[in-house]
């Protein structure tokens, strides 16, 4: 028995042992030099994401996007028309210093995300932060960065409240859910022009009961009224629910012609199958990103995904207008075996926003990076997003972002809105289940 106990103690010591002496694999490279004459070899960036737990699949997408961006920036590829990358690699103004990401796992928990942010900033001495996907985690993580005076770039959390705190160190490159909700109705108006009399004015909303889903519901209702649509019903459910039958029955009874849905992958799958099985038809199903654009959505749902529309921030057919998108996506696919998606494309872009600012700051001083972030002016051509560029207003919100709409056609996401970015014509209305 004593032997066994000794074994436990040894194991426990082994764990604490490899934490105490210093960050794993960063021997002697952690702190930036105080004198501005010497260039740092490495610039440490903290990144807090849900890497384990129920949101780990998304965490993996985010991590892949970041890792690829760092690889490109560090190695440099002259044939890629991305800032820093085409100039031969590393942060030019800092003597070609390389980026290094130190990850923290939030497990999608606001408290853990906050303490990981504090750890990365104070113990790992990171220069700036990226994170944190889940809006509730971003709320607490950005608050910690604010307190510690560290620049925090948030590439992908879409809750509108995040930029209303008056924070000075917080910068969000993605558009938020209120803009995305408005996109739905602008899209429907445009569709109504193209298919007169075929676009219903009655919508139903199916959404998760968490922050994401209830924000989508709130803002969809707000814009529905503004654009002259009627919300016939809304049904909230808990993510990963085992069953959606009664929700679908409610949607059916409402008589709505269009469905707006905010769901994660398991629920999105369950909903599509349920709609088909119970033969509930809509002119169009408008998904709110998340589960509907997960890399596994089309493989999992199969041909029933055909015709489905989702708002997105990225699609690989944007390559038709922007060859850079194909270059990056091909590289991504060769590394990780799947296409990029809106999530990985946004975290990829977040790295560039931050690296560009550090490069222009010509310093690792937080205040200078913050000032450089304020003056960010990336052009539309310099990023892989369909945005007009990246530049921040006084709240730290990127004002040049915009959403797109994709539709599943022949097993692929194709861009159908806005018209200037569309690669294919919108199919409307989608055929009834029984006629497919």
């Amino acid at each position: 028995m004593r032997k066994k106990l000794a074994a436990i103690l040894a194991a426990a010591l082994a764990i604490t042992g490899c934490v105490q002496p210093g960050p794993v694999g960063s021997a002697g490279s952690a702190s930036p030099p105080s004198a501005s004459t010497a260039f740092p070899k490495e610039v440490l960036i903290g990144a807090v994401y849900p890497l384990t737990g129920s949101q780990a699949p998304t965490g993996l997408d985010l991590k892949n996007g970041i890792d690829l961006a760092v690889e490109l920036i560090n190695s440099g590829k002259t044939d890629f028309d991305l800032p820093l990358v085409k100039d031969g690699g590393g942060l030019k103004s800092l003597g070609g210093a390389k980026l290094k990401i130190v990850y923290g796992d939030s497990q999608a928990d606001p408290q853990k995300g906050q303490s990981e942010t504090e750890r990365l900033i104070t113990s790992e001495k990171v220069t700036a932060m990226l994170g944190a996907y889940n809006s509730a985690v971003t709320a607490t993580a950005s608050q910690a960065a604010e307190r510690l005076g560290t620049p925090f770039v948030n590439p992908e959390s879409s809750s509108p409240t995040l930029v209303t705190n008056g924070y000075k160190w917080f910068f969000r490159s993605t558009p938020d859910d209120s803009m995305f909700a408005e996109n739905f109705f602008q899209f429907l108006d445009d569709a109504a022009k193209k298919f007169p009399g075929k676009v219903a004015k009655k919508v139903a909303i199916l959404h998760t009961d968490d922050l994401f889903g209830s924000d989508v519901n709130k803002f969809s209702r707000q814009f529905a009224q503004q654009y002259g649509y009627e919300v016939a019903t809304d049904a909230a459910y808990k993510a990963n629910t085992p069953d959606l039958t009664s929700e679908i029955q409610r949607l059916k009874a409402s008589g709505a012609g269009i469905l707006i849905e905010a769901s994660y992958l398991p629920d999105a799958t369950l909903a599509i199958k349920g709609l088909k099985q119970q033969d509930v038809n809509f002119q169009g199903i408008l998904g709110m990103d998340a589960g509907f654009v997960d890399t596994k959505f089309i493989p999992n749902v199969g041909k029933d995904a055909e015709g489905l529309i989702s708002r997105e921030v990225w699609a690989k057919d944007l390559a038709a207008k922007k060859p850079l998108v194909k270059q990056v996506n091909d590289l991504f696919k060769s590394r990780y075996g799947t296409d990029m998606n809106g999530t990985s494309a946004r975290s990829f872009t977040g790295v560039f926003v931050l690296a560009d600012a550090i490069n222009r700051a010509v310093s690792l001083e937080p205040g200078k990076i913050q000032a450089a972030l304020r003056k960010t002016d990336l052009k539309g051509a310099q990023i892989i997003m369909p945005w007009d560029g990246v530049s921040f207003d006084e709240r730290g919100q990127n004002t040049k972002g915009r959403g797109i709409m994709v539709q599943v056609q022949k097993g692929e996401y194709v861009t159908v809105w806005p018209v200037d970015l569309a690669s294919k014509e919108l199919v409307w209305p989608v055929p009834e289940w029984s006629k497919r």
Binding site: L51, T122, S159, D210
Partner: protein, 323 residues
């Protein structure tokens, strides 16, 4: 005498800890250890001494967090006063919920506590008046003891948590010393026998539940002031309720010092595995955390408290039923 010396030693370690380990990670771990030692001590009164296993203590924790936060946001009431209000409300809820559920035996009771927790979680998540899924941010006030907020480093939070733990421990020691402690243990060992010798079982269970709930609510307010943001998913979830129970179970349920031992092992284990291996994104942290829990349970089924006893007598003790 030896007990007092041991207590003094523990006190010295707890007070000295943040001065020896001063990094942000170490302080955060220290804060969480004290918080969960405190919550575990609260749970212990009902689960350890009275033998009523609850997987619903998140309800009381959440009530504490929401009560003080809402009072602060709506009326600017000091969180210290809000904390007491939360404790009172939690105690009242414990009595109202305990009245019908304490009739249930063993696992039926445990499942009932889970169910009550899930219902509460659902209601808060969908109640717009309580912030709904959006959660509640606490106003950032100048850091001071009076405001219950500290921004220059997290050290003061550690001592507040240590203070709350001390309160919970003193309550427990007092209960142990008094007649109620004796009766609670009698109820745990054999409820029917206790009843037959005239112990008012329901009354004592309710008293234990009220005390336990009030202490857990103090922890909830502390959490809200520490993180400055609460939502239903972070203060009401089942996983939190289970963690509150696991801490004293690991340390030794029914022993005053058990929850502290449990928290001192479980919390660093969880934090350090996540910090060390979580960044890989491969679930290794969960493998090691879960694996070590299983190993500890298999080697030390009576809780860590029984460790010294077993080291003295290497022969494994016989089956010890306490449920």
């Amino acid at each position: 005498m030896r007990k007092r010396l041991a207590l003094a030693g523990v006190a010295l370690v707890l007070i000295g800890y943040p001065f020896v380990f001063g990094s942000a990670t170490a302080i955060n771990i220290g804060v969480l250890v004290m918080l969960f030692a405190m919550l575990g001590t609260a749970w212990n009164l009902l689960g350890g001494y009275a033998g009523q296993i609850s997987f619903g203590h998140g309800v009381f924790f959440g009530l504490g967090a929401y009560t003080s936060t809402l009072l602060l946001r709506q009326f600017g009431l000091s969180p210290w006063a809000g904390m007491l209000a939360g404790a009172a409300l939690a105690a009242a809820v414990a009595i109202v919920v305990g009245w019908p559920t304490f009739r249930l035996a063993g696992h039926y009771f445990a499942i009932a506590t889970i169910v009550v927790g899930e219902i509460t979680h659902t209601i808060v998540r969908n109640a717009d008046a309580l912030g709904g899924a959006r959660g509640l941010s606490l106003p950032i006030l100048p850091g001071s003891f009076l405001n219950y907020e500290f921004h220059e480093g997290r050290l003061p939070y550690y001592f507040v948590a240590l203070g709350l733990y001390t309160v919970a421990l003193l309550v427990t020691l007092e209960v142990e010393r008094r007649r109620i402690g004796f009766y609670l243990r009698a109820i745990r060992e054999d409820q029917t026998a206790a009843q037959s010798v005239g112990v008012s079982v329901l009354q004592y269970k309710l008293a234990a539940a009220a005390l336990s709930a009030a202490l857990a609510a103090l922890g909830g307010t502390f959490y809200a002031q520490y993180v400055l943001f609460i939502d239903a998913d972070s203060v009401f979830p089942l996983s939190l309720s289970i963690l509150i129970a696991l801490v004293p179970i690991l340390g030794g349920a029914g022993h005053a010092i058990g929850p502290l031992l449990g928290a001192a092992v479980l919390i660093p284990l969880s934090e350090l595995t996540r910090i060390t291996f979580g960044g890989t994104g491969q679930g290794l942290d969960l493998v090691i955390y879960g694996g070590l829990i299983v190993i500890i349970a298999v080697l030390q089924p009576g809780g860590l408290v029984t460790l010294p006893r077993r080291l003295h007598s290497p022969v494994a003790p016989g089956r010890k039923g306490s449920a």
